[in-house]
């Protein structure tokens, strides 16, 4: 394999199923000018992959969707870490657990494919993926063609130069990150800002009903199927600001949760807002996932956010991978309803 004999190593994209993008923590500070923050769909998993390698939690990493991704190191070995949904990971033809860190040696490949649960997986690289920031961020927003590699998804043949690369891990190690084991189910919300656009009985129905994640979702929005909600007085409001996790209800009555690629402003009533600590978990729900919403107070939402921040404060512990741990039992056990990696 050719590749740089000298100079920094390169992470080469060997195959990409679409939907893999570079994301740092997001592009903040210019929402007032119509700039979408973008950033990771599951910020906790993104930060975990980075922290496992000693990177800053918001460093640029690759977000891999259900289309999957295969990469190879060129020029020198690279430490990489993966965290997110229960994807199928193969390093040099060997099955690996879904939350793992390892040294990727030139001539070997790492493949990431959709698995039993989860919709997004993060591939972090020890060092700095060297792409120019736009308005202070490398986050890719494909709709406005900003950030990442010319504002587009990664494609086969792309090469990512890694500055200050490190390669110290050697054998694959599992990430001990119990906070990523978040079963689907109940998603906490703070009601508003426009819950008064619905009769109290409709707000109650929103909280009592089961909702199903629709296959129509993307980085912009998570669409929900179920029994439509009825507005109290029309579905048009004069546009106002949109927060992450805002649940807008357009005319047809089915809730839409606004995700990382949302526009900063919008014109439908927002019945509730998913709390920060639960938004990544919602994002990990594959099509068909059933969920319910539960209203919590602002104070409870802040407490959940504080707990999440605290989990990431100490270094992420790496444990040797035991060969027997690759059994299908292991893969099935992780990230499922009762799944605990112990």
């Amino acid at each position: 394999m050719s590749g740089a004999a000298s100079g920094p190593p390169v992470l080469r994209i060997a195959a990409a199923g679409g939907g893999a993008t570079l994301q740092d923590r997001g592009r903040y500070g210019a929402m007032r000018y119509g700039i979408t923050p973008a950033g990771p769909m599951d910020p906790l998993a993104h930060a975990t992959a980075n922290r496992a390698l000693g990177n800053p939690p918001g460093a640029t990493a690759i977000e891999v969707g259900l289309g999957g991704l295969t990469v190879a190191a060129e020029g020198a070995p690279l430490d990489v870490a993966l965290a997110g949904g229960a994807f199928r990971i193969e390093g040099d033809g060997r099955a690996l657990p879904p939350a793992v860190a390892l040294t990727l040696r030139p001539g070997t490949t790492l493949s990431i494919r959709a698995g039993r649960s989860g919709a997004w997986c993060y591939l972090a690289v020890a060092g700095r993926i060297d792409v120019p920031p736009v308005l202070g961020s490398t986050a890719t927003h494909t709709r406005s063609r900003l950030g990442g590699l010319d504002g587009r998804a990664l494609a086969p043949g792309d090469g990512l130069t890694v500055a200050e690369a490190r390669a110290a891990l050697g054998e694959p190690a599992m990430l001990r990150a119990p906070w990523l084991d978040r079963p689907p189910g109940t998603i906490r919300v703070v009601l508003g800002p426009q819950d008064d656009a619905f009769a109290p009985a409709e707000v109650a129905a929103f909280l009592d009903r089961d909702w199903t994640v629709s296959p129509r979702g993307d980085r912009m929005a998570c669409f929900l199927d179920g029994t439509p909600l009825v507005h109290a007085r029309g579905h048009d409001i004069v546009s106002d600001g949109v927060a992450p996790g805002a649940i807008q209800v357009p005319g047809q009555g089915l809730p839409i949760v606004l995700m990382a690629d949302r526009q900063p402003t919008g014109g439908y009533p927002k019945i509730a807002t998913v709390i920060g600590a639960d938004l990544g978990r919602l994002a990990q729900g594959q099509a068909g996932t059933r969920l319910r919403f539960r209203a919590v107070s602002h104070a409870e939402a802040v407490e959940a956010r504080r707990a999440e921040a605290a989990a990431l404060e100490p270094p992420v512990v790496l444990e040797p991978v035991v060969r027997t741990a690759f059994s299908s039992e292991f893969l099935l056990g992780r990230n499922l309803i009762d799944g605990v990696v112990g």
Partner: protein, 246 residues
């Protein structure tokens, strides 16, 4: 006929948008007086931001405040907003006035004939009406640098298209839904492209990256296709070609 006295401005509503964003809502309509209050609070917070305030997004009728609730408690944020509202002299100065070159030649204004037919006007009359108005920059949204402009003459208040047209070019001057706008990043749109400006409202490689602020006023100055071409070359080289008065 007498005009009723405007309602005295009441206190704003504070609405949570999750635990990390607060909406300060001054009204429910598109109204320059309401928008003025939004922008005054925005300016007052920018001049003296409480620690933990992340960024603000002014809209027609409300200010969205994004904040870190682990640094800035909700109650402390509300108190800070009430404090800034109570301070006299925090009122924002008048916005700037921009003169934006605009070519209404159908070669560049792809939908002007269609829009004129819908409005029951000749294309030249539509262009004259459009260029004769002063437009208030209410807010941004939808796309980078995409500003919503109020002040469109009634005769040009066409509804939006039932389905979007193919992506507009950068600099598209558009009307739709009773508003005007200037497009930046090419995107499909339900609006009608009735002109094209060589100016770039959003240019990531230029300082300033965003040319105009909410609260500014824009007038369009008709230019022919030849003048447009010359101005576009200058804009492409990074020059600001719109005129500006304080």
């Amino acid at each position: 006929m007498t005009t009723p006295d405007p309602e005295p401005p009441g206190p704003p509503r504070f609405l949570d948008a999750g635990e990390a964003a607060l909406v300060v809502e001054f009204g429910a309509s598109v109204d320059p007086a309401i928008n003025d209050r939004v922008l005054a609070l925005d300016a007052a917070l920018a001049a003296d931001p409480p620690p933990g305030l992340a960024e603000t997004v002014p809209t027609y009728r409300s200010l969205m405040i994004h904040y870190d609730p682990l640094v800035l408690a909700r109650d402390a944020l509300v108190a800070a907003v009430e404090d800034r509202l109570a301070r006299r002299g925090a009122l924002r100065g008048r916005g700037r006035l921009w003169t934006m070159p605009c070519c209404y030649d159908p070669a560049l204004a792809e939908d002007i004939e269609e829009a004129a037919a819908l409005a029951g006007l000749a294309a030249a009359k539509l262009a004259a009406l459009h260029a004769g108005a002063a437009y208030r920059v209410y807010m941004y949204g939808f796309a980078p640098g995409f500003a919503y402009l109020g002040g469109l003459p009634e005769a040009l208040a066409l509804p939006r298209r039932p389905s979007p047209r193919p992506p507009h070019p950068p600099g598209a001057v558009m009307i739709g839904g009773g508003l005007a706008a200037i497009g930046t990043v090419p995107m499909p749109t339900g609006w009608y492209v009735v002109g094209r400006t060589p100016e770039r409202l959003f240019a990531p490689e230029r300082a300033p990256t965003f040319l105009i602020e909410s609260g500014d006023t824009i007038r369009f100055e008709p230019v022919d296709a030849a003048a447009f071409a010359g101005l576009e070359r200058r804009a492409a080289a990074g020059e600001v070609v719109a005129g500006r008065a304080a």
